[in-house]
């Protein structure tokens, strides 16, 4: 596994953000605007918990890049 990303074969079924780890960088909201946003205090907000297509691709990028490793991706069962 290279730099924390998931193997590309499986599709992302579900996205979770751990707000206790979140450092409010805003990285996910700018790299994956279809999936994440920030609230007024800067905390991560999940907009699309079950992203598909381009949103799923964005979610992968945001998860790999998250400075606090606060984004979890789950494959389809």
């Amino acid at each position: 596994m290279v730099n924390g990303e998931q193997p590309r074969e499986w599709s992302v079924a579900r996205v979770e953000a751990d707000t206790s780890r979140c450092v409010s960088s805003g990285q996910c909201a700018v790299t994956a605007p279809l999936v994440f946003d920030q609230d007024e205090a800067g905390q991560v907000v999940v907009l699309a918990a079950e992203p598909g297509g381009r949103a799923a691709e964005q979610a992968r990028q945001a998860a790999a890049m998250c400075p606090a490793s606060a984004i979890r991706l789950y494959p389809a069962p």
Binding site: N3, S24, S25, G26, D37, Q38, A64, P67, S69
Partner: protein, 402 residues
Amino acid sequence: MTAPAPQLPFERPNALELAPLLARLREEGPITRVTTPAGDPAWLVTRYEEARVVLGDTRFSRLRPDSEDAPRISESALHTRPAPTPEEEDREHTRMRRMLTPAFSAPRMRRLGGRIGELAASCLETMDEERSRDPERAVNLHDHLSFPLPVMVICELLGVPVADRDLLRGWSERIGALYDGADGAAAMAEFEAYVAAIAEEKRKKPGQDVISDILAVQAEDPSFTEGEMTRLAVGLLFAGHETTSARIDLGVLFLLSDTGRRDRFVADPEVLARATVEEVLRMSAPGGLGLTRYAREDVTVAGTAIARGEAVLVAINAANRDGRAFEGPDTFDPSRSPNAHLAFGHGGYYCIGNVLARTEMQVALTALFRRFPGLRLAVDARSLRDHSERLAGGLGEVPVLW
């Protein structure tokens, strides 16, 4: 007897390529001994995985400990400013993030996007006028877009007069200089006095800006000193434009150094901007040092023992081109996904201005290539050098024609 540790910054062939020595050291091991520009010993981390581990490890602090024997990185005023205790450093950092996160958040930056677009359009208008005076003469992209756009945006955000931008430019260059410490210290004193005077005005008449927000927090908190306030404001003004200017210059240079690459971007800038900017962030490498850390206790990294108090430089430029983490690491490929580069760091010190920088870069590249799709370099891309004698690096000159 072992050979002396090589001294940073290493010799680079041009602004697009890294120092060959960095690649060699990265092949030899993840972490190695180097000599800082100030002549002191430090560790240099060159591989991606280890870079990410160090940046995410809270046993490292960012500021030089307040001790005579602590290694010095350079004479830059940003490296030599008085260090607080670890507790004070953490407290200041937590306060800074809590205070500034909303102002630099993604929703706020989205609302700012239109304004950045207007400012970019005005920059390009001036650039076009400049060329119409003499169509044969190259125009310096740095002076017309890469420098003015980020500086205008950060001035508006902080509530500092845009008319003072040349003052800010001069101080920023001088406080970032790695070698002339006396001049850097004088520039820092002038810069801080300038910010203090602006703060004095804003205390009487607060505005809708970040400095006014900071002052409102400070007014409620007796532990928030005047020195901390001016350091923070200077830091924001410096980091808010120097680094982004360099990245815009380098981004344009990467796109123009290959006509096919430029044409692919020109075909659909709005759609391609996001991924192109991430690849620019991965490959562009302004400055030759990396991110500074000091060990707060003894730490072992990849089997190497780092003693408490030692300095660690994380060479994010080298890590971003580590073949263990990126396929074809020296190839500019905006389609790589994910592209988990370390241009903004990693962990708790991740750049608070990353959304702003990304937004500015996306807007700048899109607007530039929409308006001038036939833009080209007036010189060989490989003739341009990075100002590695400055902390933030950067080009200063990108001559273009269209």
